[in-house]
């Protein structure tokens, strides 16, 4: 037993280490592992017996099969388009003499912060085949009955998703381009290699792992994405895996067959997510070379010369289309007296906003979302800190299990978590949280725990062991060194984790939409339901509030993070 104890020189035979470890594992098992296992169990067994034949039958059903195909088509399309845009823009921002680059860099990341389902509503308003404002204008001007673009289509879904997911590649690749040692390119230049050849033979091969890693992230998200296909696809009977699960569960009437179909679909999602993460790991590992610069140098910039301003204009147009236009649309429609009226001052009113503020349902949704996200952020931050401490700092046997459990939710899409949580917490194990806030709370914790562990582990890894050991050798006990050294140093990481969970949780849709009850709507669910019910103006009014909360939150985060960078940093 004593060999198990962390070799931290504690004189006791039985340290607190095992207790902490056991507790952490227990929390993760209950919150994360059991729901996933429940899904697998339900997918593959009938009445407690293994039954693969049914699984095959379910997959053969046209509904299921089509959803699989659709998910794949969308994922491929979004990944392709998003990767192209991400690489293009990151190259422009990192490696050319494009003006206003730091502003552009910020603007290109903005779509990442905005909830994509709100964007989808905006695009529905603008580009629905006959009633979309842009389509209407187009048809009026050219006197045609053919719309400019039908957003209710596979192409529409791909385009809208791409707008919100391309930052994955953008961020990965621009980071790689910035970190890349500029002398790798300069050495080619001075050897007489022309710029184009350098780009093809040196730059792109070197950032390829980052491109692929970003692309796989897009694929992972797109495959399991609910919001956009739910808003733009259901209209034309187009379902992907998450929206089909949603439909099945919502029209199930609690029947086992529907839940079973859901679990089989969820299993497919888990499998594809695991495959994608595995591929990503492989790619990152095969990036056998480090391209990081020793000292910071300004990289070589490609001179755009005459095309500089046209390209700048193109970037601004892109940002206008992806960020400003939909946001403005949401706000304007939120202020319309009724949907369908032209945007004229006489049709504008603040009544919807006032209504949203006073309406019980929306107030409840807002307070639910606030409570849920604050609570989930707080609990995951604390639990994540403890679990990360065990993973990073403690020399305890069996912590590999924690590591595995900790990152598991990363590969489990929100829909799957929701389904697993329903299966686990609907009385099967004696606790019935169905239709309560707690079931959403449990799902949020499962969904966001990995974020917290990742963020806290990164912070803890910065705190070198010797900092703690130095305190011990100065006469501080284990607890004192935790309190005086470790906690103050990881505090910025903990705060960052708190907000990194708070914001996405505030606008969460995918998980909540499967779990909400009559009294437990969240902001995301409320907007989605209002839109589905045809209360478009109210949906937009509520979305306006949601956007304001999100923007405010982002500003707070940036403040905190920049304050952290300014001050003394860990390690």
């Amino acid at each position: 037993m004593s060999r198990l104890i962390a070799a931290r020189g504690s004189g006791k035979k039985f340290g607190g280490a095992e207790i902490v470890l056991a507790l952490s594992i227990a929390v993760l098992v209950v919150i994360v592992a059991v729901p996933v296992l429940m899904i697998l169990y339900n997918a593959f067994t009938v009445d407690g017996k293994l039954n693969i034949g049914d699984v095959v039958d379910i997959i053969k059903e046209p509904d299921t099969y089509m959803a699989l195909r659709n998910s794949l088509i969308i994922a491929l399309g979004v990944t392709g388009l998003g990767t192209f845009l991400g690489v293009l823009f990151s190259y422009l921002v990192a490696r050319t003499d494009l003006p206003f680059k730091s502003l552009m860099k910020l603007l290109f990341i903005v779509p990442f912060m905005l909830p994509s389902f709100i964007g989808a509503i905006a695009w529905k308003v603008l580009l629905s085949p006959r009633g979309g404002y842009i389509n209407k204008m187009f048809m009026d001007i050219f006197n045609t009955s053919r719309p400019l673009f039908n957003i209710y289509s596979v192409a529409g879904i791909i385009v809208v998703e791409t707008m919100y997911l391309f930052p994955f590649v953008f961020m990965q690749v621009s980071a790689a381009l910035e970190r890349m040692d500029p002398t790798l390119e300069e050495s080619a230049r001075i050897s007489g290699v022309p710029l184009g050849t350098i780009m093809r033979k040196i730059t792109f091969p070197l950032i390829m792992p980052s491109i692929v890693a970003g692309a796989l992230l897009i694929a992972l998200y797109s495959l399991a994405h609910f919001g956009v296909p739910a808003i733009l696809g259901t209209e034309i009977g187009f379902y992907n895996i998450p929206t089909l699960i949603y439909r099945k569960i919502h029209s199930s009437g609690g029947s086992f067959a529907s839940i079973r179909t859901g679990t089989v679909l969820a299993t497919i999602l888990i499998a594809s997510a695991a495959l994608i993460l595995y591929l990503q790991k492989l790619v990152l590992k095969s990036g056998r070379y480090s391209i990081i610069a020793g000292k910071s140098m300004r990289p070589m910039l490609m001179k755009l010369r005459r095309s500089k301003y046209p390209i700048l204009l193109l970037c601004f147009v892109y940002i206008f289309i992806t960020v400003i236009l939909p946001t403005a649309t949401i706000m304007l429609v939120g202020a319309l007296k009724t949907y369908g009226l032209p945007f004229e001052l006489k049709n504008m009113t603040l009544r919807n906003f006032k209504y949203i503020l006073n309406w019980r349902m929306t107030r409840q949704a807002v307070s639910n979302s606030l409570l849920l996200s604050l609570g989930a952020a707080f609990v995951t931050m604390l639990a994540g800190t403890i679990i990360s401490y065990v993973i990073v700092k403690m020399k305890v046997k069996g912590k590999f299990l924690l590591e595995f459990l900790g990152v598991l939710p990363f590969s489990v899409p929100g829909t799957v978590i929701a389904l697993g949580v329903i299966l686990t917490w609907s009385g099967r194990f004696g606790i019935n949280l169905y239709n309560t806030t707690w079931i959403i709370f449990v799902a949020y914790i499962a969904r966001y725990m990995a974020f917290s562990i990742k963020s806290n582990s990164a912070a803890l890894e910065q705190v070198h062991d010797s900092l703690e050991e130095a305190a011990r050798s100065c006469g501080a006990t284990h607890w004192q060194s935790m309190k005086d050294i470790v906690l103050p140093l990881i505090k910025p990481g903990m705060v960052a984790a708190f907000f990194l969970i708070l914001l996405p949780a505030l606008r969460e849709l995918t998980t909540s939409v499967l779990l909400y009850g009559p009294r437990t709507r969240t902001i995301g669910v409320a907007i989605y339901a209002l839109n589905e019910d045809g209360e478009t103006v109210l949906a937009c009014a509520l979305a306006t509030f949601a956007l304001l909360i999100i923007v405010f939150g982002e500003i707070v985060i940036r403040r905190i993070i920049s304050a952290k960078e300014g001050g003394p940093s860990g390690g």
């Binding site: 009633g131 009724t338 009226l341 019980r360 609570g375 707080f378 019935n432 169905y434 045809g534």
Partner: protein
């Protein structure tokens, strides 16, 4: 900063536990397919009368509500106390399954309705009607008969809400099929008619011009017209009149409150609120709103298409499927 976050979080935790556990003496949850504009005023008035009851409602399409109730039963966590939708067959079905609690309200004797349940398993609480909602910019000659909808004026621009989502639409389709036959649906489709989303959405789509016209629920359309939408509303020769019954679910823990609610809905005060929301009351002694195109309950009953609800109950799935397959081909 730190203290602020801690406080916020403590408040959140507290709120969460309050929201989840604390409760006043009497609680009531109404599941309804009625829209916000219709139900919220009813709730407010009810609360004024019965301050000791904490009433909540959950508004969604009838199909969704039924699924939700079924799931709740599966999970043994029934939340719904009272159900109020327009999908009449569901009530027959639930009655047959023994899922409803019989209650004959003292107010029930004043009701005028094509559908009634003597044992009181459900009671009509509103007489919904569907007319044609049309976009005034696109439709210059409002239709008068069902045949009018087959004219070129409505080509590729007329929709009926998805009967799988909307109870009124489900019953409407049943009525059309029973009175005009599947051939009529085929002809509609031949003229490019579409199957829309929920009953609210088809009206919205018409308002914005995505559709030229649709089958629209009275109060939904009229409310939008009142808000300034470019919509018109008209009834056809044969009317779609659908009572919206209310029922108490068996096993409710809030039977007393549920009865109070049913009584209130059927009372003169309750019916007046319903009537003032631009739909038809089920009481003859409550006047309708004039000048918005509504007809009296008596006339509505006279012009109404007939429907065998019991039969529709058993044909429901098949009807939805056939309709869907015709409209999406």
């Amino acid at each position: 900063m730190k203290r602020a976050i801690t406080l916020l979080v403590l408040a959140a935790m507290l709120g969460l536990s309050v929201a989840a556990t604390a409760a006043p003496k009497m609680q009531l949850m109404v599941y309804t397919s009625m829209k916000e504009v219709l139900i919220s005023e009813l709730i407010d008035a009810f609360l004024k009368k019965n301050p000791s009851v904490r009433i909540d409602y959950y508004s969604a399409g009838a199909g969704k509500l039924m699924a939700k109730i079924a799931t709740e039963k599966q999970a043994n966590a029934l939340v719904c106390d009272v159900l109020w939708t327009s999908e009449v067959p569901d009530f027959y079905q639930m009655k047959a399954q023994g899922a409803l609690e019989p209650y004959v309200s003292p107010e029930a004797k004043n009701i005028v309705s094509p559908v009634k349940d003597k044992e009181g398993y459900f009671t009509p609480a509103r007489l919904g009607t569907l007319g044609v909602a049309y976009n005034t910019n696109k439709v210059k000659n409002p239709p008068k008969t069902w045949e009018d909808l087959l004219k070129p004026e409505f080509k590729d621009g007329f929709a009926i809400a998805n009967p799988a989502l909307s109870g009124t639409s489900m019953v409407s389709v049943g009525m059309i099929v029973e009175n005009l036959g599947w051939e009529y649906i085929q002809k509609l489709r031949g003229n490019g008619a579409l199957m829309g989303q929920g009953s609210g959405q088809v009206v919205d789509d018409t308002a914005i011009g995505d559709l030229k016209a649709c089958l629209g629920v009275d109060y939904i359309v009229i409310n939008k017209i009142k808000e300034g939408a470019s919509l018109g509303f008209t009834y056809l020769d044969k009317m779609l009149v659908i009572p919206s019954p209310v029922a108490i679910l068996k096993g409710t823990k809030n039977l007393e409150a549920a009865k109070l609610w049913v009584d209130f809905m059927l009372s003169k005060e309750g019916q007046s609120i319903i009537a003032n929301s631009f739909t038809l009351p089920i009481r003859a002694d409550v006047p309708i709103v004039q000048g918005v195109g509504l007809v009296t309950p008596a006339e509505a009953e006279k012009r109404a298409m007939k429907l065998d609800y019991i039969k529709l109950m058993s044909d429901k799935e098949a009807t939805i499927e056939k309709f869907t397959s015709i409209m999406t081909k």
